[in-house]
């Protein structure tokens, strides 16, 4: 009888437990790639993040670790060549200095741009066109309870009219001033600092061309009644939309065990990343009601 009980117990434990152990994966030969991110915005000088991808089990992972500071980066049109220079800024949200390349010639709407990066004897090139049009925000409101793919949450409601007769892709952006008193804000910021909150989701206008659209976005940072922010809608070109949509879906896939892994598509041959264009709507002031 005792034996039977032991056997039964072992089996039942088997049903609810499994055996999990740390293993050392045989690491494949991984060839590090250049990582490039540059989204041109009219009337702003080009900003380009240049780094390297690393093997998954590499412990290097910060901007400082991976920034490539000895590349020649040129963004050109038929009229001019802008050689980008290394600069940096402090990211209070991440509590780290972040390095990037920055140009001097503001981007012009409606132009073809060519990117050329020379690094370690190799040349990486890509093209984009700054023909993305801004959209106008019609109204902003707030909803205390809203349910969507990401669950039930409060939301900032943005209503706008889709640009007619063109394929459009939108992202939401909220600029705020934060202090470390807010929940989830790191304490490396001694005083108030500017934070730019871009929504993960990319909204496609498939089958709703020219229609009035409403999107509801969950605010990322803690807020209280009277807090103010400025809200924008970012319009993206096709390549950028795909890149950020891939990122969004990969993030969902990583944290949701029921989704297939997502590969991220690059539009820069030989490198990982994106060279694209965007534009911004008018900004609308928003005050949190609660």
């Amino acid at each position: 009888m005792k034996t039977t009980v032991i056997i039964l117990s072992a089996f039942i434990l088997l049903l609810v437990n499994n055996c999990e152990k740390n293993i050392v994966l045989p690491v494949h030969d991984y060839k590090s790639q250049l990582s490039v991110e540059c989204i041109l915005e009219p009337n702003k000088v080009p900003v380009l993040y240049l780094g390297k991808t690393v093997s998954y089990f590499d412990t290097l992972n910060t901007n400082t670790d991976l920034f490539v500071d000895n590349a020649l980066v040129i963004i050109s049109t038929s009229n001019n060549h802008d050689t980008l220079q290394v600069t940096s800024k402090y990211n209070y949200y991440r509590c780290q200095q972040e390095y990037f390349y920055q140009g001097t010639i503001p981007v012009v709407q409606g132009r073809f741009y060519h990117l050329r990066i020379e690094y370690n004897g190799s040349v990486y090139e890509a093209d984009t066109e700054t023909n993305v049009h801004p959209v106008e925000i019609d109204s902003i409101s707030f909803v205390a309870n809203f349910s969507d793919l990401y669950g039930e949450h409060e939301g900032v409601v943005v209503t706008f009219t889709d640009l007619l007769n063109e394929q459009n892709f939108y992202r939401y952006r909220m600029d705020r001033v934060l202090t470390k008193s807010k929940k989830d804000i790191p304490n490396c910021a001694n005083g108030p600092f500017a934070a730019s909150e871009v929504g993960r989701s990319v909204y496609f206008d498939t089958n709703v061309d020219g229609a009035s659209l409403t999107i509801v976005i969950e605010p990322a940072f803690q807020h209280q009644a009277g807090d103010t922010a400025r809200i924008y809608l970012q319009t993206l070109d096709t390549a950028s939309a795909r890149f950020f949509d891939d990122l969004d879906r990969q993030k969902s896939a990583k944290i949701n065990p029921f989704i297939e892994p997502v590969f991220i598509t690059s539009n820069i041959p030989g490198a990982f990343g994106i060279f694209g264009a965007c534009n911004y709507s008018n900004s609308v002031k928003f005050t949190y009601p609660e």
Binding site: I7, S9, A10, F11, I12, L14, L15, V16, N18, C19, E20, K21, N22, I23, V24, L25, H28, Q33, S35, E37, I39, G51, T53, V54, S55, Y56, F57, D58, T59, N61, N63, L66, R94, E98, L149, G151, E152, S196, E197, V198, R200, A220, F221, F244, L247, R249, Q250, K251, I255, N256, P257, F258, E260, P261, V262, F263, I264, T265, F272, I274
Partner: protein
């Protein structure tokens, strides 16, 4: 196409014109009255013959007014010889008695000794049900699908499950038929056990290539399972008590030898056991299956069969901070069949089949909720004819029509509750109705004593809404006998498939959803070439074979990367389509008789897929691509009381998709910037090799209970004897505190001993 049909008809009609008389009838087991499927019927000296069909019927043309000796033989039974001198057609039903055999004479297959050499089919395997009962069991349950996995060309899926993958095909490409009804998910306990109770099974045949034309609708295999008909001579009770289940089978005669019945039921008592452990009160599991069959002989020419099967699983686990699930699935089938003889040469079987399948899985992990719902209801009407014009031909033709009603959907998202209350609203789920039909004709031709052909053609048709598809499926198998113990065979087949099971590469539950072909989802199509050499040794005691195959599969279906199903999602729009191809070599060496018997099978294969919208459009290995697959099975009969059996399995590990690199992203906004994964290839990692050894010791005895004689047996089984931690899946993540990446392997089944007791009155 026309030429193909004309050739078949011409050959048939030319040879059918010879003058002869016909003997026909059934071959039955004298002790139980059950039909003996595949009994060899041949004319001594003339070397012509036939074998009984799936209902035990045979028809053989013999020379008119000439004395012939007709031999009826079935392994394990005493052969019968009939001297006949006939002027006209003659009906002859034969009852063969089981042979009392010593352990030295034990045979593991009931078929003709060199049937593997002579039959005009290849890539066909009969699974001896008697042997299934002797092989190692998991949780004390012998399982026909576990034995299928030990055959060459058949690979298992995840650890411990009964899923099988044939020659590079996905699980949905196997047509599992139980008394002609489709069983869509033949599993219990998440696949640890199949839903087929071996006590209720009469015959199992697996076809993985060279498909006869009567079979269609799937690309990779046909698993044809016949239920027992029930003993028409006497009543018997057959039962078993296992670690997690009990089963009981009752069979006996009805209406004075005109009819018989069998009822077999199996139920787990896991749910009762779990209640005894308060710490496991969050876990609930129960399953059952029920087989029932009645057959009624109205006359020599007419016989009816009514069979029913139902299997159902209910599982739930609800606890805080864990993966919660509520899982229900099950199949049921009902089959009404009518066998009718039109004279001595034409046999018909008409079937009306109704089968259903339902799967509803709700899972909740952290804040993420997922629900999958898949229901299928089929109504099928079919008629098959077998025409025996002369010993040189067996012509089969028929027509089939199936009405599918399919309800596929799923949803996945974030909820801030642990509740598993229903999210999907069944009223909102769009039901899809499709019609599938086919006609076919097949002729098994003995061209000469050495050369045989199996030629056939099947024409399937399919319609859903305004979309229709038609197919043309030529089938051909050639056999050339080199000697009585050696033959060469080759086969070519084309198959179409109109129902698709869309696999998910991440979930470890059977969340796959069945979808019908549509305007967007084109029918799958395969083309397969196979070549084989078959050689027996030592008076057919040893069988060996080597088969090579090459198979292409078009219109394969997968979800887009990152697909997150919502109730409103049009699943067709979330799919991507590609192609697959598989090739390999399969070796089999089998010892058929003696105190020690068993087999060794080895498969060396490659299976790849290519989808324009997956893996950057590059070729990648199929999820169940396994380079090496070795199985060794042995049974040793010490004496009439003791039998020991063992199986050893070694396979290459499954493939899995893992990121190879990481990258910082900056333009995603402050909150979402950070480190993302870089994938370089789908299914780019291979898990460690899989291997395990299972053993079983069986003690049989005869005794009496209340003056009633019975046969009893104790079965001690040990699964995974040396408790090898086989990889079930691996995952990588980054530690939230140290930010160091790590990899973890999850193993599922360690050593599992079990004891069961079986009896038969």
């Amino acid at each position: 196409m026309k030429i193909y049909l004309i050739i078949i008809i011409l050959i048939g009609s030319l040879i059918a014109s010879e003058k002869s008389v016909t003997i026909s009838g059934y071959v039955l087991d004298a002790s139980s009255g059950e039909s003996l499927i595949g009994t060899n019927v041949y004319l001594d000296g003339l070397k012509i013959g036939t074998s009984t069909n799936s209902y035990g019927f045979y028809s053989l043309s013999i020379p008119v007014e000439q004395e012939v000796r007709v031999i009826f033989s079935y392994m394990g039974y005493k052969p019968q010889v009939k001297k006949l001198f006939l002027k006209k057609n003659f009906k002859l039903t034969i009852k063969l008695s089981p042979q009392i055999i010593s352990t030295e004479d034990i045979v593991v297959t009931a078929r003709k000794k060199n049937e593997n050499i002579e039959k005009k089919q290849m890539s066909v395997m009969d699974v001896p049900v008697r042997m299934v009962k002797q092989l190692p069991a998991i949780l004390g349950e012998t399982d026909v699908l576990k034995v299928i996995q030990l055959l060459p060309g058949v690979q298992s899926g995840s650890e411990g499950t009964t899923g099988f993958y044939v020659r590079g095909g996905n699980a949905d490409q196997n047509l599992v038929l139980l008394d002609e009804a489709t069983v869509y998910n033949p599993n219990h306990l998440f696949g640890l056990l199949s839903s087929f109770n071996s006590r209720a099974i009469n015959n199992v045949t697996m076809i993985k290539g060279g498909f006869p034309a009567q079979y269609g609708g799937r690309l990779s295999s046909i698993l044809n399972i016949s239920m027992k008909e029930g003993n028409s001579k006497s009543y018997h009770v057959d039962g078993g008590l296992g670690v997690v289940t009990s089963k009981l089978t009752v069979e006996g005669p009805l209406l004075n030898d005109k009819a018989s019945f069998i009822v077999s039921a199996r139920r787990t008592y896991l749910d009762l056991l779990l209640k005894a452990f308060p710490s496991l009160s969050n876990t609930k599991y129960s399953f059952y299956d029920l087989n029932a069959k009645v057959n009624y002989k109205i006359s020599h020419n007419d016989r009816f069969f009514l069979s029913y099967f139902s299997g159902r699983d209910n599982a739930a686990y609800i606890a805080a901070n864990s993966l919660n699930y509520d899982f229900k699935f099950g199949n049921s089938t009902s089959t009404l069949r009518w066998n009718h003889l039109f004279g001595e040469k034409l046999f018909s079987n008409t079937s009306l089949v109704y089968n259903t399948y339902l799967m509803n899985l709700k899972t909740n992990q952290g804040n993420f909720y997922s629900e999958f719902y898949s229901q299928i209801k089929d109504i099928t009407a079919k008629t098959d004819f077998e025409y025996f014009p002369n010993p040189a031909h067996t012509i089969k033709f028929g027509v089939q029509y199936t009405q599918h009603s399919i309800t596929p959907t799923g949803t996945s998202g974030n909820i801030k509750t642990d509740s598993l209350a229903t999210v999907l609203n069944a009223a909102h789920i769009q039901k899809k109705t499709a019609a599938e039909g086919s006609i076919y004709m097949n002729d098994a031709i003995n061209v000469s004593k050495s050369f045989g052909l199996n030629l056939g053609v099947r024409v399937p048709a399919y319609k859903i809404k305004q979309t229709s598809y038609y197919g043309f499926e030529p089938r051909a198998t050639l056999k050339y006998t080199l000697s009585p113990v050696a033959s060469l065979k080759a086969a070519y087949t084309v198959m179409h498939q109109y129902l698709h099971l869309v696999p998910s590469s991440t979930a470890s539950f059977p969340t796959d959803i069945w979808l019908p072909s549509s305007k967007t989802v084109k029918p799958q199509r395969s083309e397969q070439y196979a070549l084989g050499y078959f050689r027996n040794f030592e008076k057919n005691r040893y069988e060996t074979s080597i088969e090579a195959y090459y198979k292409t599969m078009q219109n394969q279906v997968a979800f887009k990367e990152g697909t997150q199903l919502l109730e409103q999602t049009d699943i067709d729009q979330q799919l991507v389509f590609g192609k697959g191809w598989s090739y390999g070599v399969e070796l089999l060496a089998k010892k058929r008789s003696g105190k020690y018997n068993g087999w060794i099978s080895y498969t060396l294969s490659w299976t790849n897929q290519k989808f324009p919208d997956l893996n950057f459009g590059k070729t990648f290995p199929f999820k169940y691509d396994k380079r090496h697959d070795l199985s060794a099975v042995g049974i040793y009969n010490f004496n009439k009381n003791w039998t020991i059996s063992a199986d050893f399995v070694f396979t290459s590990g499954n493939v899995v998709t893992l990121p190879e690199g990481r990258v910082n992203v900056y333009e995603g906004g402050d909150l979402y910037n950070g480190v993302f994964d870089v994938y370089t290839g789908r299914n780019n990692y291979r898990l460690g090799n899989y291997h395990r050894l299972d053993v079983t010791a069986t003690y049989k005895y005869a005794s009496s209970f209340f003056n009633k004689n019975y046969d009893g047996e104790f079965v001690l089984s040990i699964y995974n004897l040396y408790s090898h931690q086989n990889p079930y899946f691996i995952y990588v993540d980054v530690d939230g505190v140290t930010h160091k990446p790590y990899a973890k392997q999850v193993s599922l089944l360690p050593i599992i001993p079990s004891l069961s007791f079986n009896f038969r009155f």
